[in-house]
Structure formats: C-alpha cells, structure tokens
C-alpha cells in the first residue's frame, strides 16, 4: 500500500549545500538525499567529465520527501527567496507515492 507525499528537488551550487540542508532540517524534514552532478543551464555548462578546479561551483541535486505539502512549500520558498537571487539553482515539487509513511 502506498500513501501520497511531496518530493522537493533542489538543484544548486555545492557552495551553499550546507545552508540549504540547514533550511531543510529547520523545516522539520526527516531526511534528504544529495547527488552530485553536472549539466547545462542559464549559467553555462558544468562538466562532470573533467576535473574542475573549483569544486564549489559544481552542481548538486538535493531531494527531500515530506508527508505534508505545507512543509515542502516552506522549504522551496525559503531556499528560493534566500539564495536564488545570486546563486544559480532551480527548485520543483512533485507528488510521489511512498511506502512506510511513518518514516516521513
């Protein structure tokens, strides 16, 4: 049996990873997953296939699944307002089906 929850995905620069995870924890989410990556966006290409001298500007994708949508929106809004004026990043929400709802 599955129950519904909301997934927040934040793609941003590694340099503000700590600050974003602090927001996530303050909002009351029980956990998150960080994936390092590369790609292309409005700030140009971030390669993954070559050593980059400045690791802090590499991108990370942070995924958070929370039971109630309110928390999800709180995280998304806080990150967006606080950091995305100067740092590059995107944030989006999705409906997801989860197992073991007590974990969220």
């Amino acid at each position: 049996m599955t129950s519904s929850a909301t997934k927040v995905t934040i793609v941003s620069e590694r340099v503000i990873l700590d600050k974003i995870t602090a927001i996530i924890e303050a909002a009351g989410a029980t956990g998150y997953t960080v994936i390092e990556g590369g790609g292309k966006g409005s700030h140009g290409v971030r390669t993954t296939d070559r050593p980059s001298v400045v690791k802090a500007l590499a991108i990370v994708k942070i995924e958070i699944v929370v039971a109630d949508r309110e928390t999800a929106e709180k995280i998304a809004d806080a990150v967006n307002e606080k950091y995305f004026k100067h740092y590059s990043g995107i944030v989006y929400l999705e409906r997801v089906e989860i197992l073991r709802p007590q974990k969220f």
């Binding site: 140009g44 001298v53 400045v54 690791k55 500007l57 004026k85 100067h86």
Partner: protein
C-alpha cells in the same frame, strides 16, 4: 645593453622547462578538443601531496630557524596582500563595464595565493640551484587570508552603501553585518591551506624525515607536471567563459601579476638588505604575490560575495592570471633576481 640581453636569454630558457611545457601542452590539447581527462580525485590528491610536501619541508626548517627572521617577510606578505586588493578595487573595480563587486572579488583572488604557481616556482628555483629558506612557502596564508578578508569586507561595505541609497523596504532584509572570523575559518578549512598547515605541524612537531624523503619529496616533481597539465586544460576552458565578461578583466589579469610581483620583489629586497632575507626567498615571495588563487579562493569569495559574478573572477584568475604567473612571472622574477643579486 649586456645585462638586458642576459635577462632576455634567461627569460627565454625558462620556456623549455618541463613545468611550463606541461602547462602549455595542457592548453594545446584542450584547444584541440582532446578527450583526455584526468580524474577529479587525482587532481585533488595532487594538491594534497604538493602542499603536504611544502608544509612538511617548511615545518622541518622552522624547527631550526630563527623565529625573528620570519617576522619581516610575514609582515611584507600581509602588506602585499592588502595593497593588492586596495589597488585592485581602486582601479579595476572603477572601470566602465565592470561591476564594483566583481572588480573587488577579482582583486581579492589576485591577492590570494595559488598553490600550483608556488610549487612550480619552488621546482624552478631548485633546478637553478638558487637556495631559499624552506619556510618561505609558509608565507602563503599570510598573504592569502588578509587579501580574501579585505576583498569580502570591502565588497560588502560597498553593497551596504548602495542598498542604503535604495528606496526603503528593499534594504530591510539585507542588513546583515560582515563577520571577519568566519571568512578566516573558511579559508583555513580550504583543502590547500589545511594540507599546508597540517604538513607544517607535522614537520615542526614530529620527525617525518623518512616518509618525507622516500615518498613526498620524490613524487613532488612528477605530480606537479600532471597538475600543470590539468591547469593548462582548465585555463583554456575558462578562457571561453572569460570572453562573456568585460575585456577589462583580461587586461587586469595580464597586468596585475607582474605588478604585484614587482611590489613584493621591492619590499623583499628591502628585507634582504636589512634582515638578510635570501635572494631565492625574495624571488619566491614575488611569485607568491604574482600568483592568483585558483583552488581555495573562489569558493570563499563565492560564499562571501554572493552577488559577484564567478565567471568574471574565476575566468580572470584561472584563464589568464595563473598562466601569466607561471609562464611569464616565474621566469621574469628568476631573471630579475639573477640580475639584481648577481646569482
């Protein structure tokens, strides 16, 4: 006429040295679109190895050094770091088409120090058999940290002033004061400085002589050549990025390294006359001043001045500043040193 010819020939010889050749080779293969890649982990390991070697070497030397010999060069390093940022923000940051905070961030990066340039200079001095006090590389943080701190403070003061002029309501959320201590801690925690300081402590407090002689010392040159290759490839990639920002950055990145080096050379020369600072030390100090940070400086600045455009400051430093420091400034100050000190 003859000293000038001597100067030019010493200068030309340096271009055949492996360090520079690997740098140019890296730029060349990147320009040709080569698929060659060196894994990220190896790059990081090389930085660790080089700074560990530099740190341990310096630490072992400090054990025997007279502590007061260190004072004048350390003070010079701090002064040079601060002066670089102040002149940069009075010149580059005021040019048309350059946003003030971008200009200040760029000068902060040029005041900070590049580990790869420092290592390259050490190898060339050893090849030329020019001696220097082994603690000279430990001057790195004395120039690096003040430069980054001053740049971040200056940029934030400027941003606060412009916000104060902005209509009320916009400025309400942005009243945070700049705290200096977190910037210092952040710099010290950077990968390059942590390795250097750990090495210093190990060299100073323990007896790492055997592991130093059998592992760190023999690997130093080989790893440096790989690092130079990577820096060359990175420089080419960043050059594309630099094209998108104002051309003044490229001009600054060409002119600033030799100018900064000359300031340090002059002050170092005074220290040579007054406290007996070695000629090799003066040359190395000039190269440290000429170098611009490419590893640990950018993240600190990105965090400290979020509104500054990283393409501008990283592009200037990595694409133009570092190649100029390695390919032009090292041979230049080596030749100048040989001319001035008659080595």
């Amino acid at each position: 006429m003859e000293p000038l010819l001597d100067f030019l020939s010493t200068f030309a010889v340096q271009f055949q040295k492996p360090t520079l050749a690997f740098l140019l080779g890296g730029m060349l293969i990147a320009a040709l679109g080569s698929k060659l890649d060196v894994p990220d982990a190896i790059y990081r390991f090389i930085i660790f190895m080089l700074l560990m070697k530099v740190g341990i070497g310096a630490g072992m030397e400090i054990r025997e050094a007279n502590f007061f010999d260190l004072l004048a060069p350390a003070l010079i390093s701090v002064i040079v770091g601060v002066v670089i940022v102040l002149t940069g923000s009075a010149t580059l940051a005021r040019l048309p088409g350059v946003r003030r905070e971008d200009g200040i961030a760029t000068s902060g990066l040029f005041g900070a120090v590049s580990a790869s340039t420092l290592a390259a200079a050490m190898v060339l001095l050893e090849e030329e058999e020019i001696g220097f006090e082994a603690w000279v590389p430990a001057l790195y943080p004395f120039m690096d940290i003040p430069a980054l701190v001053i740049a971040i403070v200056l940029a934030n003061l400027y941003l606060q002033r412009t916000r104060a002029k902005a209509p009320a309501g916009q400025s309400a959320a942005n009243g945070e004061r700049v705290r200096v201590w977190p910037i210092v801690v952040d710099s010290l925690r950077g990968s390059a400085l942590s390795a250097l300081l750990l090495g210093l402590a190990l060299g100073l407090l323990t007896q790492p002589d055997r592991v130093f002689e059998t592992f760190y010392e023999p690997l130093f040159r080989g790893l440096l050549s790989v690092l130079m290759l990577i820096m060359g490839m990175e420089a080419w990639t960043r050059l594309m990025e630099l094209r998108r920002v104002a051309h003044w950055y490229a001009v600054y990145a060409l002119v600033a390294p030799p100018t900064h080096g000359l300031i340090a050379f002059g002050l170092g020369y005074v220290a040579h006359l007054t406290t007996g600072f070695s000629p090799g030390g003066v040359i190395l100090l000039a190269v440290i001043a000429a170098s611009s940070s490419d590893i640990s400086g950018p993240p600190t600045l990105r965090a400290g001045i979020p509104s500054a455009n990283p393409s501008a400051f990283i592009g200037s430093s990595t694409a133009v500043g570092t190649p100029i420091a390695i390919a032009v400034c090292i041979p230049l100050f080596l030749a100048l040193g040989q001319l001035v000190f008659g080595l």
